[in-house]
Amino acid sequence: MSNEWLILFFLVGAIFVGLILIFSGIVAPKSINPQKFEPYECGIPTEGVTWLQFNVGYYLFAILFLVFDVETVLVFPWAVVMKEVGMAAFVEIVIFFFILGLGLLYAWKKHALIWE
């Protein structure tokens, strides 16, 4: 079966969720109570705005991830043909990984791998 048939799975998923949501929307009871629609914060009204600038220290991780993920994508085709190409492929990937490893080591030593 050809790859375009993936759309079938997409559609089945969407229809599945949609139908069940509609069904549940019909059978589920509804009651109106203004407090019910408040966001849950342990029974206390939320203080301030929720969508604030939020400092999560993973900016550096995101960049590192980009570097390494692109590398993974590059390595996949190499991995497929590795057996056929032989020694040359191995030497190349050692060099490639060595450079990457240096990068990781640099980030490590610069304490970039610590979540702030």
Partner: protein, 374 residues
């Protein structure tokens, strides 16, 4: 426009205020912590308490001394028996009643059993705070065995109400000694499993070592008692310093560490369970013969004066301060509850750690909310 941008970049704007509690899975009770976060880092913790304030101190002013005892059960419900004992000891001290050895020994055994079951529940919920749900069931499974012993002797499982001024409500059940010995044998086998499951675990070490450090100086200044204080090196075991009941006759060691982090607060409690088992083993075979209660007057009136009694509950030092004006009910009762004082240090030690650590620190302080609110 420019002002708006400025506002966003200032530190106050970055603060993210979150309520943990009163309806939160990790605060064991209705404790509300208002946590200011910066990213994941805790900037300050403000405890808001009083959700179950019942005014026990005020209620005590209008009831008689034997009736006070059953109210103290409801303060620290996990150390119910020890709380009872504290009030009884105060009344007995005030009336200068001589208590026979049998009562003292039984009270001590019961106190230590109470301590073990309290620590078991703490272990269970602490494991759950860290995300290891299995601990909860193991802890409660073993605690059940002690509660069965309690139920057989006292008639109820947790809120025992077993003490009365001048002795005990009933004598111990004939099976008591046999069952306690069985339990000790069982628990000595089980306790190493706790270590394997949680304390030996590398994830647990990472989560707890160096987290929430409390120095000795701060521990004394904040008055942190109990295992939490002793983990910081604060020698505050009332059983050693001001022995009551049968603690002066037995040999046991005070568990002391110097590090004062979450890990050592944990280890202090685990070691205390071992120590409690030692204490019980020393006493269980030699319970002296004698009456289980001293005959007291039907209406107990304390002579005018002030009385203070300290006991060591599972969480720290409980003080009962009674001012009597000679009537059948006290003029003023103050309970110096260990949890109330231990809570006050939370902001100090949780600052600068992550929100997950706050949960771990809170768990390691072993707070029981009804004791805070009283």
């Amino acid at each position: 426009m420019e002002e708006k941008v400025k506002n966003i970049t200032t530190d106050e704007q970055q603060e993210y205020v979150i309520n943990m509690g009163p309806q939160h899975p990790s605060t064991h009770g209705v404790l509300r912590l208002v946590v200011s976060l910066k990213g994941e880092i805790v900037k300050s913790v403000q405890p808001h308490i009083g959700y179950i304030h019942r005014g026990i101190e005020k209620m005590c002013e209008s009831i008689t001394y034997p009736q006070i005892i059953h109210l103290t059960d409801r303060m620290d419900y996990l150390s119910a028996h020890i709380n009872n004992e504290a009030v009884c000891l105060t009344v007995e001290k005030a009336l200068e009643v001589e208590i026979p050895d049998r009562i003292k020994v039984i009270r001590t055994i019961m106190s230590e059993l109470t301590r073990i079951q309290s620590h078991q529940l703490w272990w269970a919920s602490f494991g759950m705070d860290l995300g290891g749900l299995t601990c909860f069931f193991y802890g409660l499974r073993d605690r059940e065995k002690i509660l069965d012993i309690f139920e057989e002797t006292c008639g109820s499982r947790m809120i025992v109400s077993y003490n009365c001024p001048g002795g005990l409500m009933y004598d111990i059940h004939p099976n008591f000694q046999k069952r306690v010995k069985e339990f000790i044998k069982y628990f000595r086998k089980i306790l190493p499993e706790y270590d394997q499951l949680l304390s030996g675990n590398v994830i647990f070490h990472e989560r707890s070592k160096g987290i929430g450090k409390l120095t000795l100086e701060d521990a004394v200044s904040y008055g942190i008692t109990g295992p939490s204080g002793r983990a910081s090196g604060f020698s505050c075991d009332v059983r050693k310093h001001e022995p009551y009941s049968a603690y002066d006759k037995i040999k046991f060691k005070e568990i002391l560490f110097t590090e004062g982090d979450t890990y050592h607060r944990y280890i202090a409690r685990i070691d205390e369970m071992w120590e409690s088992m030692n204490i019980i083993e020393q006493l269980i075979d030699n319970i002296p013969e004698g009456p289980y209660a001293v005959k007291m007057k039907p209406v107990i009136k304390l002579p005018e004066g002030e009385y203070y009694q300290r006991v060591e509950t599972a969480r720290g030092e409980l003080g009962v301060f009674i001012i009597s004006d000679g009537n059948k009910s006290p003029y003023r009762v103050k309970f110096r509850s260990p949890n109330f004082v231990n809570l006050s240090v939370l902001n100090h030690i949780a600052k600068g750690f992550k929100i997950a650590d706050l949960v771990a620190i809170g768990g390691s302080l072993d707070l029981v909310i009804p004791d805070i609110d009283r």
